[in-house]
């Protein structure tokens, strides 16, 4: 029965992946771009499920990693924008840096204002991509090491992550000359790798997102099936028990916290490619909480459940936003959904699906057992 369930689970993953890979055949470019955004949110759902569902770490600041990833690639794409080349210098300079230039300074990244040299390596898209993955992971490693070595757990971790995301958002808004503050990075160029251009409305970009999500789902699911994944879930249930079985509890927590941050950072980069902006709003508390709601509704105990939860809520939100009367009410609706899910469906849609299949399998195997019994009763008579 366990094996059957695993096979069904695999089937769900494959069907989902097939669906998102086939979508371009049915959607025109505007809808495809919108779906790509939703898939990015789905990826954030996966990141939340990995840390909340599997590790028991409720990160209320996942937006920090998403935002860092977004800004890193955003910087590269800002330098690739035509306006950055049109500032009267041989090398690209972001337009907002001119507005914030130090008087009499040279129009060049080296010295237009204090710290602008940090942008120099981002002229390489590869560097932006590398940093988009490395920075969130490193920040998670630093934060995780401090928190989990000190054996901080539960709601305290949530509060710390929440404080971190707000702090970094303040820093980014404050560093106006370097980050364009409130406005964020807009008017971005197109990501170009080798000969390939990732135009946000192209099928190429959609496939980049869809394949990234598929790979994330598969690798993430495999990771949870490793011995480390099992130990992680054991730690979630009772970290003391795990410790006295001889496991170095904090190393597991830090590793999966980093993995979750890496996924979120990667999602942030994809979002910048698809949506063509990076903004401090990514690090607003409400966004991080929204991600948690997606995962709760989809089922935090399941990577694909949380992913589908994110897609579902965004699809609903989009259709609601076409009815003006409901736009205002949306925040109330989503709050209500969250409360209802927490109260009546703590394991979300995935949990519901799982218990339904359990019951179906039980009935099925029960019937099979009865048939076998009937068979063996017949045999002596033959």
């Amino acid at each position: 029965m366990q094996a059957t369930k695993l096979r069904l689970n695999l089937a769900v993953y494959l069907i989902f992946i097939a669906c998102i890979l086939l979508a371009p055949m049915f959607l025109e470019e505007f809808a495809l771009n919108r779906l790509a955004k939703f898939l990015v949110f789905g990826m954030l759902g996966v990141a939340i499920a990995l840390s909340w569902g599997y590790a028991g770490i409720l990160n209320l600041g996942q937006g920090l990693f998403f935002g860092l990833g977004a800004y890193m690639l955003g910087m590269s794409l800002k330098l690739a924008s035509p306006t950055s080349m049109a500032q009267g210098s041989d090398t690209p300079v972001p337009d907002f840096m001119l507005w914030n230039a130090e008087p009499g300074s040279k129009t060049d990244l080296c010295c237009i204002n204090g710290g602008s040299w940090l942008w120099i390596p981002f002229q390489s898209h590869w560097f932006g991509i590398l940093m988009g993955m490395a920075l969130p992971t490193l920040v998670a490693f630093g934060l995780g090491t401090v928190v989990f070595r000190k054996r901080i757990a539960g709601v305290f971790v949530s509060v710390i992550t929440l404080a971190c995301v707000l702090l970094v958002r303040l820093l980014i808004v404050d560093a106006q000359p370097l980050t364009n503050g409130w406005n964020g990075l807009t008017d971005l160029g197109v990501l170009t790798i080798g000969e390939t251009e990732f135009d946000p409305y192209s099928a190429t970009t959609y496939y980049l997102v869809a394949i990234s999500l598929s790979v994330t789902l598969i690798l993430g699911r495999l990771l949870t099936e490793t011995r480390s994944g099992m130990i992680l879930q054991a730690i979630r249930d009772d970290y003391n028990r795990a410790r006295y079985l001889g496991f170095e509890v904090s190393s597991f927590q830090v590793f999966f916290f980093c993995a979750s941050a890496l996924i979120a950072g990667y999602a942030g980069m994809l979002y910048v490619i698809v949506a063509e902006f990076a903004s401090p709003s990514f690090m607003e508390l409400s966004f991080s909480i929204t991600m948690v709601v997606w995962a709760a509704v989809g089922g935090r105990g399941s990577l694909i459940g949380a992913c589908i939860g994110a897609l579902l809520i965004n699809v609903i939100e989009t259709s609601v936003s076409e009815t003006p009367a409901l736009v205002e009410a949306w925040k109330v609706i989503i709050g209500l959904i969250f409360v209802l899910v927490v109260l009546f469906m703590p394991q979300g849609i995935a949990g519901l699906a799982s218990s339904v299949t359990d019951r179906a399998l039980e009935r099925f195997s029960g019937r099979a057992a009865r048939l076998r019994q009937a068979d063996s009763q017949h045999q002596p008579a033959e």
Binding site: I231, D237, D238
Partner: protein, 249 residues
């Protein structure tokens, strides 16, 4: 020739001046099953906390065979070969019974060495043995959170079996059990006897009579007496301190 598996040398801890365990020296021989008796608050659990690294001792030393393991981290002590069952049974409630046993059987402490989908043959074999010995086979696919109290206790014992430590510290393994359940626990312990060195804290005298050869009695954080069941029953100080004048029972 007997070998000392665990040596406690003047072990003690004080909580804000209150000496919960005070200068305890005990030598446990390899393969021995030692029962620790004592009234409520005598310091039995705290003694196990000191051995397993949960509480840092303020005096004395702990030796596992020839290795000084005083002040080691919990997971290092566990890896060195000391397994522990808690007074309040603790298992991984959201995982299946089998998964609980599997996790306990994994042989390395860190995250990277466990990034593999495979489980060793030895670890699989121990899981089957533990299912067999605890009789939890029929429950193997159920969530541990749904087990009865007695079954939860057996599962935790089973996890110690798959963990396969040299020394088992068992804190009241029959607490809250019915007579039949207690009896089954006795059988499990007798099956483990000899293969592991076992230290068990227990109140249930029927159980103690069935398993004990050597008993250590603790009182107010100190060792009051040590010996076989007859010696302990006759000991005047033990009678006064703990057992009343009626003898054990």
């Amino acid at each position: 020739m007997t070998v000392a598996a665990l040596t406690l040398d003047g072990l003690g801890v004080a909580f804000a001046g209150f000496k919960a365990v005070d200068g305890v020296s005990i030598i446990i021989e390899e393969g021995e099953l030692r029962v620790v008796l004592g009234a409520n608050g005598a310091g039995k659990t705290t003694l196990m906390d000191l051995i397993s690294g949960k509480t840092r001792n303020t005096s004395g030393r702990v030796f596992l065979y020839d290795t000084d393991i005083t002040h080691w981290q919990e997971h290092q002590i566990a890896r060195a070969g000391i397994g522990r069952k808690f007074q309040i049974p603790s298992v991984f409630r959201e995982l299946s019974v089998r998964r609980n046993l599997e996790v306990a059987s994994f042989e390395t402490p860190g995250v990277f060495s466990n990034l593999s989908l495979r489980q060793t043959a030895a670890s699989k074999r121990r899981v089957e043995e533990a299912l067999e010995l605890t009789g939890l086979g029929p429950q193997a696919d159920r969530l541990a959170g749904g087990l009865s109290h007695g079954q939860t206790q057996w599962l935790e014992l089973g996890m110690l079996i798959t963990q396969n430590p040299k020394i088992l510290l068992l804190d009241e393994p029959t607490a809250g059990m019915t007579q039949a359940e207690t009896h089954k626990t006795t059988e499990i312990l007798n099956a483990l006897r000899g293969k592991h060195t076992i230290i068990v804290v227990e109140h249930d005298m029927a159980f103690v009579r069935e398993v004990a050869r050597r008993i250590t009695v603790m009182h107010l954080g100190q060792v009051l007496a040590e010996g076989d069941i007859k010696t302990i029953e006759k000991d005047e100080r033990v009678k006064q301190a703990y057992l009343g004048s009626k003898g054990i029972m």
